[in-house]
């Protein structure tokens, strides 16, 4: 049997608004995934470390502070520098459409904004993670 999807939900930076992060963590756990939540105020480096140590398939960043470009770049580049570019980085929060192209170029996966359905997040990971696992073989 294929091992369950492992996801790190992370809250980078100084912002403490953790409603979204916790709701997503709970939704993914209810959907049978293994979920690790970092807690508040993580630096990019801390998130990269946790992702590698926990051997996760995906890292979800929750950013509502407007600092999303900074933190997504730190995490994507940090994972690449450790040879872990196979880990999917996706996210959610207050992210304007205008920044989506730049995030996509960075290699970030889907971004879920206010109003997103948690089922869409579950479906997204169920589709994306197995594909990446296959590609990684």
């Amino acid at each position: 049997m294929e091992r369950p999807i492992r996801v790190l939900i992370a809250k980078p930076g100084l912002d403490g608004h953790d409603r979204g992060a916790k709701v997503i963590a709970r939704a993914l756990r209810d959907a049978g995934m293994e979920v690790i939540y970092t807690g508040l105020r993580q630096t990019g480096a801390m998130i990269v470390n946790a992702a590698i140590q926990e051997d996760v398939d995906a890292v979800g960043l929750s950013v509502l502070s407007g600092a999303h470009m900074h933190y997504f770049r730190e995490v994507v580049e940090g994972l690449a520098a450790r040879g872990a570019e196979d880990i999917l980085v996706f996210g959610g929060g207050i992210v304007p459409d205008q920044d989506l192209a730049a995030l996509d170029e960075l290699g970030v996966g889907a971004i879920f904004t206010p109003g997103a359905n948690t089922r869409d997040v579950v479906e997204y990971l169920r589709r994306e993670v197995p594909e990446r696992r296959r590609a990684g073989v």
């Binding site: 100084l14 709970r26 979920v35 206010p114």
Partner: protein, 548 residues
Amino acid sequence: MKDKQRWLREDYAEATERFAERDALFETLSGIPVDPIYTADDRASVDEAADLGFPGAYPYTRGVQPSMYRGKLWTMRMFAGFGTAEQTNERFHRLLEAGQTGLSTAFDLPTLMGYDSDHAFARGEVGKCGVAVSSLADMEVLFDGIDPETITTSMTINSPANAIWAMYLAMAMKKGADLDKVGGTIQNDILKEFIAQKEFIFPPEPSVKLVVDTFEWGPVNVPRWNFISVSGYHIREAGSTAVQELAFTLADGIHYVRKALERGLDIDEFAPRISFFFNVHNDFFEEIAKYRAARRIWARQMREVFGARDPRSWMLRTHAQTAGVSLTAQQPLVNVARVAIQALAGVLGGTNSLHTDAYDEALALPTEDAATLALRTQQVIAYETGVANTVDPLAGSYYLESLTGEMERQALAYFEQIDALGGVEQAIEAGFFAREVGDASWRQQRDIDEGRRWVVGVNAFRQENPEVPIQLVDPEVSRVQEERLQRVRRERDPERAEAALAGLRRAAKQGANTMPAFVECALAYCTLGEQMDVLREVYGVYEEPVLI
């Protein structure tokens, strides 16, 4: 005449046999069941004289002033802040020109967490979700051309509230203002940070001690200043129900009162300057009921439990803000309608001041056009709809009075639960609030995800999203801030700054009131980071347990 139960059993049941009820959740947004009708039977438990009375009279259910909006409209106070002090100062001037009657300042995350703009933790965050203020020099630019004796300013700052307030007062003093005439509000409500928003620095006990310092120092030195705005707004945004918002906020207020009394302060010295801040969400009647219940509960607690004698101590004065969390990124213009309805509920609930969210806030900080439209929404309510012409126009409504009473009862039941845990600080450490709020937000999310509750544009009536313009933050912010910080550190009197920080350390270690030391630090141009580092060293920092 038929009573309600008989009517429901006979006429209503017969009617719904022929035409079934809609497939909908007949309950408030907070889960209070809603009956098909309310009648005089539901009001039987309301004692008109004791529970309602008149506006401007105990228990203030109908409003804190006799004339309410016939005398003075609510203060239209739009929350603003982004980028550099210069940029936010410019936005302040535009808002005042557009007819706004008070200012409200949003600070960036490094400021909220007590870090200077050039600290490593501030990278990527300077000026992003508010304005950066690292020293008196920034405060002077922020309020350039604004008279602190005539314009009142609210500042959303919590853990570093004492330091930021001192900087504001130092700015006013340097302009020659008389502190007896300077009015405004600092949020300064650390308990709701532990419960909901999580912008805390120090552990609960020293954090509350810093708050009580302002209770003691404020009334004597800056008598027109509201040194606290006990806030339910953030608790609601974090996912609580309206009842939880009501109960936890008032429980926090009561906790501060107890702590101030423990210090030996006279309740009627400080209580008149305690102010509040609630959310206004989508459920129209529930929100109106919440404001009315809040005033009644507070008045009764202050008079009957704490023995306050000054009627001003009994009055719950409050700010309101429309629910940011209700805004959707999908079809963002629909948010204009949500905000208008929420704002109307705040006004019918008798709020004393109001911020209306801009329609683009699920996407980014508001643009100037969007913020102006939000202010115009308040002006339409104030000047065109007629709702401000009579005081508490919904009083006596069977439904509203029933709901007001129900919310009061449920809030009091929460007070008992919190007391049984040993009080608010113990309940925080036991994870009580985190669990309550987390469970409520999860239930709401599931109701929407599973289609039991419809949200226009999100799980119903979906369409392609139009692109809307967004507010960009100048990437030069960090550089401007760093340069000003370096200039401050270079040009200030180093001996005075050092002595001021030593004075703060002494006051903190000895448990003395810290406010005089904060004022001296501000005047000596000590940076925010320097001051908070002193307190981090004395008090330690708090890390919350990680719970999902």
